[in-house]
């Protein structure tokens, strides 16, 4: 066991029952050391127990299980890395094991119920990572509905002091609908921890008296070519467009010389100056039982030199229309479903607080249509009405899945250039809740 800068603990464990208690104990110790709290720590320990038991039973002799317990800002994360060799990956589907005849629930489904987020990721040719996160509790802050009277000029603060950031978050929470506000706006301590941990970057514009006039947030998801932004949040009474422009120009200047090739909206507000962005379309999000159209915006940060992508004939009309509209030069290479292996594998990012699930293909399989149907059924039952599927057009085997995805009731809604290893299509399930 080793500890890295007090932010992570690494264990390499033999897949034997006698080491279960060590894994669980490590999770409990990490929860205590990193202030997860007595009410939340058992959730992490339960996830570790569940994952270890499944992986232990399915790991061949000679293999080891690598467990990392990591502090990621407001959350503690348990990550199991393992190799797929001889493992029945079918059972790693979120929806696996929920059929009545199986008699028990396991894996991601069970973990999802007592953690805040969980996911399965592919790491290399035969490596996988199974992860669960549990958030710390933070005190709620009342949104501030009275905007201060501001005084130009406005100055950008790259690393805003905690009290300014907290103030900005509370003001934004009082001015923008809940769906446009990250969780950290109602719990500013969470936002501060996320910024400190580098999970979010924040830009605040301060007025002449040092009061927050605007806020922009962005994050760079691991191994993606894009940055996802929220905002701009304009905090003055008159909603001065100069503040929104200052935030957007400041944001673009700060990401322009990073590895990101594009910026994509995560929570675009109505103050977004559209001249800086390209509308991608919209998806439907559920808010208080109501369906709300959320527009999506994109912006390349570099010159696009064209590319080739894979696509099935069924998806080609949608792609050609979007590429023409967005003026992207793309060569569409035809691909057809080939059936692949018997069983498909999907990863599921599940965020029950937001009622949101995102599916991503990890392995193709002849059971894909049925597998998708099982996932939709399970996710709706678990309380995730908004179900999306992200398809990487840089992977021929993924592009070949389109007919099965369409047949399962998903519709292509957005084409996101450079959203994956190449361009990505965002499918939305049409019958989940809308």
């Amino acid at each position: 066991m080793s500890v890295n800068a007090a932010q992570a603990v690494f264990l390499e464990l033999p897949p034997e029952a006698s080491f279960l208690s060590l894994a669980v104990s490590a999770a409990e110790t990490a929860g205590k050391a990193w202030d997860l709290g007595p009410g939340r720590t058992p959730r992490l320990a339960l996830a570790v127990e569940e994952f270890f038991e499944y992986l232990r039973c399915n790991t061949p002799p000679g293999e080891t299980l690598r467990l990392t317990l990591r502090r990621r800002g407001p959350a503690l994360c348990a990550e199991f890395r393992f190799r797929a060799k001889s493992l029945d990956l079918r059972a790693m589907n979120f929806a696996a094991g929920i059929a009545p005849e199986d008699g028990r629930e396991m894996g991601l489904l069970l973990a999802a119920r007592f953690t805040d987020r969980c996911r399965l990721e592919r790491r290399g040719p035969d490596g996988f990572m199974l992860a669960a996160e549990v958030d710390r509790d933070y005190p709620q802050a009342e949104p501030l509905r009275q905007a201060p009277r501001l005084q130009p000029p406005y100055t950008p603060l790259d690393h805003p002091p905690g009290d300014i950031l907290r103030h900005a978050a509370m003001l934004a929470a009082g001015r923008y609908p809940l769906r446009l506000c990250p969780h950290g706006f109602s719990e500013p301590g969470r936002l501060l921890d996320m910024v400190e941990a580098g999970l979010y970057d924040a830009l605040v514009l301060a007025d002449a008296a040092g009061r927050p006039a605007g806020l922009m947030l962005w994050r760079a998801p691991a191994e993606r070519l894009s940055v996802a932004f929220s905002g701009p949040y304009v905090l003055d009474e008159a909603r001065d467009p100069a503040i929104a422009r200052g935030l957007v120009e400041g944001f673009l200047a700060r990401v322009a010389r990073t590895p990101a090739v594009c910026a994509v909206s995560e929570r675009p507000t109505e103050d977004l100056p559209e001249a800086y962005f390209e509308p991608l379309g919209s998806v439907t999000r559920t808010q208080g039982g109501e369906a709300v159209e959320q527009r999506s915006y994109f912006r390349a940060l570099r010159e696009d030199e064209g590319a080739s992508i894979w696509a099935c004939a069924e998806l080609e009309p949608f792609l050609r229309q979007e590429y023409e509209r967005l003026a992207f030069a793309r060569e569409i290479l035809p691909v057809e479903p080939d059936g692949g292996e018997a069983h498909s594998l999907l990863s599921t990012d599940l965020d029950l607080r937001r009622g949101l699930a995102v599916l991503r293909p990890l392995l193709d399989g002849r059971d894909l249509a049925a597998n998708l149907a099982r996932h939709v059924e399970a996710l709706v039952r678990e309380g995730a009405p908004d179900i999306f599927l992200h398809l990487d057009l840089g992977q021929a085997w993924q592009a070949a899945m389109a007919p099965a995805i369409l047949a399962a009731g998903f519709q292509p809604r957005l084409l996101l250039p450079h959203g994956a290893t190449s361009d990505m299509v965002v499918f939305e399930h049409g019958d989940a809740a809308h």
Binding site: P259, R302, E305, G306
Partner: protein, 381 residues
């Protein structure tokens, strides 16, 4: 899809990558543009006007062309002069200085690397502008140095802000004069006042890549300035006015002591024979070439200013063979729309000018092609 393979090498790759320095891991790898035929195929065009790199549309001066034309293929088997001996003699005669005070490199970018490696170590800082030639910042960042960037003032380098950013850890200040991409420049008095206030133990790189495009007596001559301020290193290039961008030749000149230090971290033999020969010849008959280039640039600038004014668009065009215009759409979208019509410009997001494009100034045909494509692109709004 096939069943995943067992691959221990790949399994260990993540660990290996985690051990590389953070400043390298976080650095954006520069992606050069693809060859013209590839771009033309991708964008479905049969002709491509390159207005993105500020190349001289007139090409090299006549004697440089002749020198290249008579260059024997057999010389490719020989190493070039490792320190560009003859070219340094020509430069020395041209500027009235010792040849030892010149260091020639494979473009100015190589010289930037040599200077940073020679004068800086981890923990040091460099100062430059937020909106200027990007290579100073890039090389400093992937060398593990702190980069202190100061905003422009009225589209020009801000001397007060740059002085305020200098402290005991600052080893080099990079001044791009005229500034790329705004074309603004410091007059002699501004530069002298700046140098007088700057501590003498800070190296000043005065990058004059576009100085030959300026025909104004108020423009300071770095070759003269360095004689009063021995901490000044002047950078010049054969890639812009002299039309030799494809051969990559740039050089620095400064106090012998500083050049000797920079030479220690400079790669010898990095400038090829063709580059050295063409650069020597280019200096021999540059007067007519410079006059013709200036006339072409002035005509093109006037034409585009008129176009942009007619469209009601803000533009910036000072010294240099380029002009910037603020577009009503994202610059990266404008780039794609123009590329679909066979015109390549430079997007300015990376220069921290979002929604601006920079257009190289060239002959009438290219300018008219750009103007047509630009108007067509705007009509889509």
């Amino acid at each position: 899809m096939a069943t995943p393979r067992t691959d221990p090498a790949a399994w260990n790759m993540n660990t290996l990558l985690e051990r590389i320095p953070a400043h390298v891991r976080e650095f954006e790898c520069y992606v050069p543009s693809r060859p013209d035929p590839v771009l033309m195929r991708q964008y479905g065009v049969s002709r491509l006007y390159r207005l993105n790199n500020n190349e001289n549309a007139l090409g090299p001066p006549p004697l440089a062309r002749e020198a290249l034309a008579v260059l024997k293929a057999g010389r490719a088997a020989q190493y070039p002069s490792g320190d560009s001996y003859n070219l340094r003699q020509v430069l020395a005669a041209r500027f009235g200085k010792s040849a030892e005070r010149f260091l020639v490199g494979n473009g100015s970018t190589e010289i930037i690397g040599a200077v940073i490696k020679s004068f800086c170590e981890p923990g040091d800082a460099i100062v430059t502008a937020e909106q200027t030639f990007a290579v100073y910042e890039w090389v400093a960042r992937f060398s593990g140095l702190e980069t202190r960037l100061t905003p422009l003032l009225d589209r020009a380098l801000d001397p007060a802000a740059m002085l305020a950013a200098v402290d005991g850890r600052t080893k080099i200040v990079f001044l791009c004069n005229p500034n790329n991409p705004t074309g603004a420049w410091w007059e002699r008095e501004t530069l002298e006042a700046f140098l007088a206030q700057l501590p003498g133990d800070v190296v000043v790189v005065l990058d004059e890549a576009y100085r030959e495009f300026v025909d104004d007596p108020r423009f300071p001559d770095g070759m003269e300035v360095m004689e009063r301020h021995p901490n000044v290193l002047v950078f010049r290039t054969f890639s812009k006015m002299y039309g030799l961008a494809g051969l990559r030749v740039g050089y620095l000149c400064g106090a012998q002591e500083l050049v000797d230090v920079a030479r220690r971290c400079h790669i010898v033999y990095s400038v090829n024979i063709a580059g050295q020969v063409a650069a020597e010849a280019a200096l021999a008959d540059d007067a007519g070439h410079i006059a013709a280039t200036r006339a072409m640039v002035a005509q093109a600038r006037d034409f585009l200013r008129g176009e942009f004014d007619a469209l009601g668009l803000e533009h910036i065009g000072g010294a240099g063979n380029f002009i910037m215009v603020r577009t009503p759409v994202s610059d990266t979208l404008m780039y794609r729309r123009l590329m679909r019509q066979g015109v390549m410009v430079r997007t300015m997001t990376n220069f921290r000018f979002p929604n601006w494009i920079r257009v190289s100034l060239a002959q009438g045909e290219a300018m008219e092609a750009f103007a047509r494509a630009f108007r067509t692109s705007l009509d889509r709004e």
